[in-house]
Amino acid sequence: MIEMTYPDDSVNDRISALMDGQLRGEEFSRAMADLASRPQDESTWHLYHLIGDVLRSEELAGGVHDRDFLSSLEQKLAQEPVRTASAPTLASQAHGMGTSANAGAWRWVAGVAVTVLVSAAGFGVWNSTLNGQQLASTGAAPVAAKVEIAAVPADAPVMLRDPELDALMAAHQQLGGHSALQMPSGFLRNATFERPTR
């Protein structure tokens, strides 16, 4: 059973406002700092989410998520070697877990896993998706997409992608048919390999 704590009303109101996405700028920063530094505020944050979950679906009521479990999970995750290529796998696994039979219990884990990933990728992403459920469902997409670009084989040479250079290369290949080997190989080569401009 979750141990209920009742912080004072002003803090409750602020957490509630934070959840509803109403805090901006300095207020938002202060609330986030409080949340990070005061365990009781974090409990309230979790409690409010649980209330919201239960209101939305009874299935989610089984979500036991004591801080010890979460912090040990966070520690485990922190000990994992940082490998960008593996990040989408973790994110997609976490994403997939949300649809399993024990969805309620796993969604928290997924939420935390994704939160850790998102925190690593940049606070801004987390900032824009305050709701834990959103993080688990939609939050995974941009993170996975972001990492995918870097997911090249370890032995491949580092390649710099530059959309403007790509556009010029496409332009070169479109008009650069000035080769006696152009027909048919060159045209087929460029049609197959061409970097599309739209």
Binding site: L160, L165, H172, Q174, M183, L188, R189, T192
Partner: protein, 332 residues
């Protein structure tokens, strides 16, 4: 050289090619005509055959493939390319007319690629000096994608260009595999059929109908304006060995957002091509100067020159791009 003599010479070479395979040496003084004759035969091969197949291009760590349909009725040449990788698109070509359908955005881009019809005439005219910069070397023969193919290498005589290894179908000369090689003979890029059906029943009316099916598509044409480097105020201090200017265009720079245009000045040595792009320098966008290796045979190099930003792109070694970028100068 009279027209008759030239045709006679070519016929002799073609007979030698057809009769005795590729029994010639690169060191021969007649290398010029042999390279041209070989290239012409390869070029003509695609005009006489109908085929379908799967075409695979590998460059650096990237691989792309496409389904190909090709037909020629003697006068008209048509091709359909359905790339299997990357953004969904269908490309149709009738002679020098090319249309690319993007089904997701419902945009169709139509272009005329003048350059496609350029080379047979150049090769026939003996006006090309490909043989002065490359030598042809017979390597042997091999069975690939179900056909007997002769293998030749077209190797550069200097360090300003790459070499090529070409597999061509023995009877017709159709290129079935093409590798671009660096100085050390390493393969930079390969384009090859992984599956090929010669004399396939390809229907020209059906391709024509598909090429014209633009209903529901917004048709766009690249905003290209023909110009000359001279008119734009640019010149090369001296000619880059083997490379001739092939044309010059103005094209909009989409990223500038201010209606700026870039000049594209194109060069070719007959096999390798280089484009020099020149646009006004923009300190926000133009930050990284120097060469870039994106894998494969196509390289790029950028240079900041006074108020201008030069980008050289081509299937040549980085040093050649550097020579181009350094040789380009503003006319006084």
């Amino acid at each position: 050289v009279s027209q008759g003599k030239r045709i006679f010479g070519w016929a002799l070479t073609a007979a030698a090619l057809l009769g005795g395979g590729v029994g010639f040496t690169a060191e021969s003084g007649a290398a010029d005509t042999r390279i041209n004759a070989w290239l012409l035969r390869v070029h003509e091969a695609s005009r006489q055959r109908a085929y379908t197949g799967t075409f695979v291009v590998s460059a650096g760590a990237k691989t792309a493939s496409a389904k190909i349909w090709h037909i020629c009725d003697g006068t008209q040449q048509m091709e359909r390319v359905e790339p299997l990788s990357g953004q969904a698109r269908s490309i149709f070509r009738r002679n020098d007319q090319v249309i690319t359908f993007f089904p997701e955005s419902h945009v169709a881009i139509t272009e005329r690629r003048d350059s496609l019809g350029l080379f047979p005439n150049l090769l026939k005219s003996n006006d090309s000096d490909i043989g002065a910069y490359y030598q042809l070397k017979a390597v042997g023969s091999e069975r690939v994608v179900g056909v007997e193919a002769d293998i030749v290498e077209i190797l550069p005589k200097d360090t300003m260009r790459y070499g090529y290894r070409v597999w061509s179908e023995r009877r017709t000369g159709l290129v079935v595999q093409l590798q671009t090689l660096d100085m050390e003979g390493r393969v930079l890029e390969q384009a090859a059929f992984s599956e090929l059906q010669l004399d396939a029943p390809v229907s020209m009316p059906k391709l024509t109908q598909m090429m014209g099916a633009t209903d529901g598509y917004r048709i766009e044409s690249p905003e290209m304006q023909k110009t000359t480097a001279e008119a734009q105020g640019w010149t090369l201090r001296r000619q880059v060995p083997g490379f001739r200017a092939m044309g010059c265009f103005l094209r909009p720079v989409a990223a500038s957002g201010q209606g700026a245009t870039a000049m594209q000045w194109m060069f070719s040595d007959g096999l390798a091509t280089v484009s020099l792009f020149v646009e006004p320098f923009d300190s926000r966008r133009h930050t990284r100067e120097g060469p870039t290796d994106l894998g494969g045979a196509t390289r790029t190099l950028t240079r900041h020159l006074d108020g201008w930003w030069i980008t050289a792109v081509g299937e040549v070694p980085a040093g050649t791009l550097s020579v181009f970028a350094q040789t380009l100068e503003r006319r006084k």
